[in-house]
């Protein structure tokens, strides 16, 4: 076609082209999301739906399901003391996440600085994370042991205490002990996430700030922390998830005891389902647990500025 004809056609052609491109872009983006969405759909969303439906039914593996309405929820909220204890313990567990993150942040900053041998330090701090949680539980259970554990041994050798401290047998110290073991394992992991985040902060911002006369404290709070928000948010969410990924840790170290002092919602769900064969009740507890986590995540999201803490790029 001649150039004249093409020029005449052009104004009508542009809007069509534009729309097609936009649609093509949207389709592509959804295609990018598809594999992950599919996997989550199969293995998280559908099981969650299964749990929600089951929580309103009475069912056992060999009998058909019958409608039960709010039976389980009623039992849970009004009669089940274990549920409330487990809920409280879970909240405490989640509340302890910032402690680990703060320590990890300190370590990340130290390791990020220009010192010699930081690769070695980084490796040593991380080395606890790849260890199987069962192994972590076994070794820390021994370390906390009242009679033969290492911690008591050291404390008594240094004459810090007169009589051994019953860590895992004590109603007050059992949960903090598990939390300590958990932090020990997670430090390396938080540190890695925070290191990745620290690298994303351009050096010249610091340089500009110090030229402007800001001291280290100022630089930390005004530059580092805000720009680390996505990573900090991520760490907090992971810390929150520890309240159920630490399942093995709790199970191996105390099994939920003594009494119910270390019973978490996740161990309770597991016991209800697989020890007591009450899958329907376990499903109800799962739903409540899930709602709790969503609520906390939403609150954390708001606190870190929305959009999963990501700083809007200009």
């Amino acid at each position: 076609m001649t150039a004249l004809a093409a020029a005449v056609d052009a104004p009508q052609a542009r809007p069509r082209l534009f729309a097609r491109k936009r649609v093509r872009q949207a389709v592509l983006i959804w295609c990018f999301l598809l594999p992950s969405l599919l996997i989550f759909g199969l293995y998280r969303i559908m099981p969650l739906a299964w749990n929600v439906v089951l929580s309103f039914q009475e069912w056992s593996p060999t009998r058909p399901a019958t409608w039960a309405g709010l039976y389980h929820y009623e039992e849970m909220f009004f009669y089940d003391e274990v549920f409330w204890t487990a809920l409280w313990n879970t909240l405490l567990y989640i509340g302890s996440a910032p402690i680990g993150i703060a320590i990890a942040l300190g370590l990340a900053l130290l390791v990020n600085s220009d010192i010699r041998g930081r690769d070695v330090y980084r490796t040593i701090i991380f080395i606890s994370y790849p260890l199987m949680t069962v192994a972590v539980g076994v070794i820390w259970r021994w370390m906390f042991d009242e009679r033969v554990g290492l911690i008591n041994y050291v404390a008594r050798s240094l004459n810090l205490v007169d009589s051994p401290i019953p860590f895992l047998n004590s109603f007050d110290w059992a949960l903090p002990s598990i939390i300590a073991a958990n932090i020990w394992q997670m430090l390396g992991f938080y540190m890695i996430i925070l290191l990745t985040g620290l690298q994303n902060i351009p050096q010249n911002l610091y340089e500009a700030a110090s030229i402007d006369g800001a001291d280290a404290r100022r630089r930390f709070w005004r530059i580092t922390v805000p720009l680390l928000k996505p990573s900090l948010f991520l760490c907090f969410v992971i810390g929150m998830l520890n309240s159920f990924t630490s399942f093995d840790l709790v199970y191996v170290m105390t099994g939920g005891g003594p009494g119910r002092a270390t019973e978490l919602l996740v161990t309770y769900v597991y016991k209800l389902g697989f020890v007591q064969t009450k899958f329907d009740y376990a499903a109800a507890v799962t739903v409540v647990f899930f709602a709790l986590l969503i609520a906390i995540a939403w609150a954390a999201n708001r606190l870190s500025g929305g959009n999963a803490g990501a700083v809007e790029s200009d």
Partner: protein, 417 residues
């Protein structure tokens, strides 16, 4: 590498990787058996199964073994999916949950039709696996609690004979406890500690199983004594962790006077405690001759496609020949009376200490407690044991703990009845 090749390659790869390595055999003669934490006996199982296949050609046997805490997870998932193993081995009272929920096959008629199989077993132990008058399992190996004691520590404390009552045990524990030494350890999972209560006349539930019966002054006394003992160090606190490895390890370290455990504990401790031999380790019956069984049974899943064949395998595994062989490998009694007598006779000559330990398993079989055929046994444990822990660890006093436990147990019973 362009996109298309990558996609094609990816699809092909997924196809290959998605093929199950375990292709279900189309033959109707396939049996699967799930055992409980006995993976070290692989050689034995190979032999038993090979022998069975000789008399039953064309049969394939799939052997699965899972650790104790994983059996329920695995089995129940398979149940829901409709592919339960034909034969299942359970420990303690877990079988009741499955039987009551209809997962296990009622083998009463099969037993009636195979009189010589039914006659083999110790009647008291076989009765451990009946619910509402129906049999659900055959004994695989039997264990119950006994009292182990460290003869050296006894001598040092001036105790001449093993105590036979709860009060006697507690007194002995007090005498031995000093510094790093503790007097008594007891295992706590699966109601193994119940003989302490039963020997003092405390029952858990009323005979009809509808209400709690343990909230009595006597029970409060026992509980208070246990709490005092734990506080003073007479009772080793590891007792109340509900574990297996730790208490046995603690006794094997040689610093505990008595260990109230079931017979497999002996073999674990022997490995960890080189000081253990006939002169240093004593065995005695539990308080008042009472004990809690914690035996292993073999049952058939209701969903099994080959129940007769499964029963034949059970009969084969519990035969005189193979139970004797099993005792040789594992030093446990199997509930097959004739074979147990033969094994004991042999052990008395070869390993007198082992024989002494195992002998206790056959005594006082009419005084077994802690084995309630209730479908919600696990929930019952969960309602009772945490309160017990509260009391013995000094969190609540005995009376309050018993009141709270009674409240929870009654609520459970009313909701589950």
């Amino acid at each position: 590498m362009d996109r298309r090749t990558m996609l094609k390659g990816g699809l092909a790869l997924s196809g290959v990787l998605a093929m199950p390595a375990y292709l279900r055999a189309q033959s109707a003669k396939k049996l699967s058996i799930l055992t409980w934490n006995i993976a070290d006996q692989e050689a034995y199982f190979n032999e038993v199964f090979a022998d069975f296949k000789k008399s039953n050609p064309g049969v394939e046997i799939e052997w699965l073994d899972k650790k104790g805490p994983e059996v329920p997870v695995f089995y129940q998932t398979q149940l829901v999916a409709g592919t339960p193993p034909d034969i299942i081995n359970t420990q303690g009272a877990l079988w009741v949950e499955y039987a009551a929920n209809g997962a296990l096959m009622d083998i009463t008629s099969m037993l009636k039709g195979n009189a010589e199989v039914a006659k083999r077993f110790n009647a008291d132990y076989l009765a451990n696996w009946t619910l509402d008058g129906k049999n659900f399992m055959l004994p695989f190996y039997i264990t119950k609690t006994l009292l182990f004691y460290n003869k050296n520590l006894f001598k040092e404390a001036g105790i001449t004979a093993p105590p036979t009552t709860f009060a006697g045990i507690m007194d002995a524990a007090d005498k031995i406890a000093k510094g790093e030494r503790t007097g008594l350890l007891t295992l706590n999972f699966d109601w193994l500690y119940w003989p302490f209560f039963k020997s003092e006349g405390v029952d858990l539930l009323t005979p009809d199983g509808k209400k709690a019966a343990f909230n009595t002054p006597k029970a409060a006394e026992v509980l208070a004594r246990l709490a005092k003992g734990t506080d003073s160090g007479a009772i080793n606190k590891t007792s109340w962790t509900g574990r297996w490895v730790e208490p046995n390890g603690a006794f094997a370290a040689g610093t505990v006077g008595m260990h109230h455990a079931h017979s497999p504990a002996f073999f674990f401790m022997k490995g960890q405690g080189p000081w253990i031999n006939a002169d240093t380790l004593g065995v005695a019956q539990g308080p008042g001759g009472w004990s809690t069984p914690n035996s292993h049974g073999l049952g058939i899943s209701k969903g099994s496609k080959n129940p007769e064949l499964a029963f034949a395998l059970l009969a084969h595994m519990t035969s005189d020949r193979w139970t004797q062989e099993f005792t040789k490998r594992r030093n446990v009694l199997t509930g097959n009376t004739a074979s147990d007598q033969a094994s004991l006779a042999r052990l008395r000559g070869e390993e007198p200490l082992t024989a002494a330990v195992l002998q206790t398993q056959l005594e006082n079989t009419d005084k077994m407690t802690g084995n309630w055929p209730l479908p919600f046994d696990a929930a019952l444990k969960d309602a009772f044991y945490p309160e017990l822990q509260n009391a013995v660890l000094g969190r609540k006093d005995a009376k309050t703990a018993l009141n709270d436990a009674e409240r929870q147990v009654n609520r459970l019973l009313s909701r589950r009845a």
